[in-house]
């Protein structure tokens, strides 16, 4: 489908959806039949409108489906800003909750503190089971924070007028994977010392002159590649899963919009239990794999 054709169809869809949204206060969906959604950095997929889309359409002459603002501000497009806005919203909310909770801790916990202690205790037990007691106690704050953050980001995509910061924009998952990457390297250097850390990259030598040099080169290349692949696979797994999940929800909402007005069956509702499960599993997988990478980096002198 050509770009102009798509733009024309988008324009029609906005008019239709505007009327429908006013009536039902429902997600005005970009229907799946459009053959592509926003051009979010080359990623095309069906996508629901979020709060910022409405704000932007109200305060600018840009339509709801127009492309990026431009490449002005540090190369950030409007769609990057939307994702970062929701990510910051979650981060600030979680931060304020944690700050308020930790102000007046009681010896005998009541109410919300008791709930939070059960939650944090459960996470510590889980990560200690993977990494061992010592490492688990050190890294539960980091890995557990990533778990809660990702869980909230996955689930906010299911709330009307909100967008999952992970969906259709690779920046937020990449930021977390890069944090994990640098923590793993730092932990490796601090735990083993710079010499053993470098030795891990070089590997063991056999004592044969020419073969040794060749194997050392091969080992260095393979290990550096292996370390770089870890954050890439963490990023792409989370990004692909949540983008796919949200695209399916948007496509199903598009089917609802395509139905006649007297029979609006909320088809996307039937996918929500599965979406909740996927979001939880991806959060568990990301934090568990981070824990496993940390464990591998600290235990490698044993083999």
């Amino acid at each position: 489908m050509s770009a102009t054709e798509a733009a024309v169809q988008h324009g029609e869809a906005v008019v239709e959806h505007g009327a429908a949204a006013a009536q039902t206060l429902h997600h005005a969906a970009e229907a799946a039949g459009h053959g592509g959604g926003h051009a979010t950095g080359g990623i095309h997929a069906p996508e629901l409108q979020n709060l910022l889309d409405y704000v932007r359409a109200a305060f600018t002459d840009k339509g709801m489906y127009d492309d990026c603002i431009g490449h002005g501000f540090w190369g950030l497009s409007y769609f990057d800003v939307a994702n970062i806005f929701f990510a910051m919203l979650i981060a600030v909310t979680l931060g304020v909750i944690a700050w308020r909770l930790s102000r007046n801790l009681k010896k005998v916990p009541t109410g919300f503190q008791a709930l939070a202690e059960v939650f944090v205790g459960g996470m510590q037990t889980y990560f200690c089971g993977i990494m061992g007691n010592k490492l688990g106690k050190i890294f539960t704050p980091f890995v557990g924070t990533i778990f809660i953050y990702i869980l909230c980001m996955n689930y906010i995509g299911l709330i009307p007028f909100a967008k999952s910061p992970i969906a259709l924009n690779i920046n937020v998952p990449a930021s977390m994977a890069i944090c994990v990457f640098f923590l793993v390297q730092y932990h490796g250097i601090r735990q083993n010392g710079i010499k053993k850390y470098a030795q891990h990259f070089v590997g063991e030598t056999a004592g044969i002159p020419v073969l040794d040099q060749f194997l050392i080169l091969l080992n260095i290349f393979l290990h550096i590649f292996g370390e770089l692949v870890k954050p890439a696979s963490l990023t792409l797994r989370l990004f692909g899963n949540i983008s796919g999940e949200d695209a399916v929800v948007a496509a199903l909402v598009g089917l609802v919009v395509a139905l006649p007005w007297y029979a609006p069956v909320p088809i996307q509702t039937f996918f929500f239990p599965l979406a909740l499960l996927f979001g939880l599993i991806q959060a568990i997988v990301f934090s568990t794999l981070s824990a496993v990478y940390l464990l591998l980096m600290s235990a490698h002198e044993e083999h």
């Binding site: 080359g42 990623i43 997929a45 797994r237 692909g240 983008s243 695209a247 997988v285 568990t288």
Partner: protein, 83 residues
Amino acid sequence: MKGGSGLMEPGALLGLALPLGVGIAAVGSGYGLGQAVGKAMEAMGRQPEAADKIQTAMIIGCALIEALTIYALVALFVLMGKI
């Protein structure tokens, strides 16, 4: 869109190849997931007291297998604009 005509048009080729590619990737990782989960279930049935550890390892393995399909899906997202 530049290129040939009919089925040899890049857009038409992509429209054919992208869903097929994701489907083929899904076949492979579906087979892998079946193997992994089946063996894990067997192990859990034989040793129910180790179910927690087996389940954790199984979920990590499943995520690694599933990632291969997700790479195909990411390729689909990236190339979908060119159809």
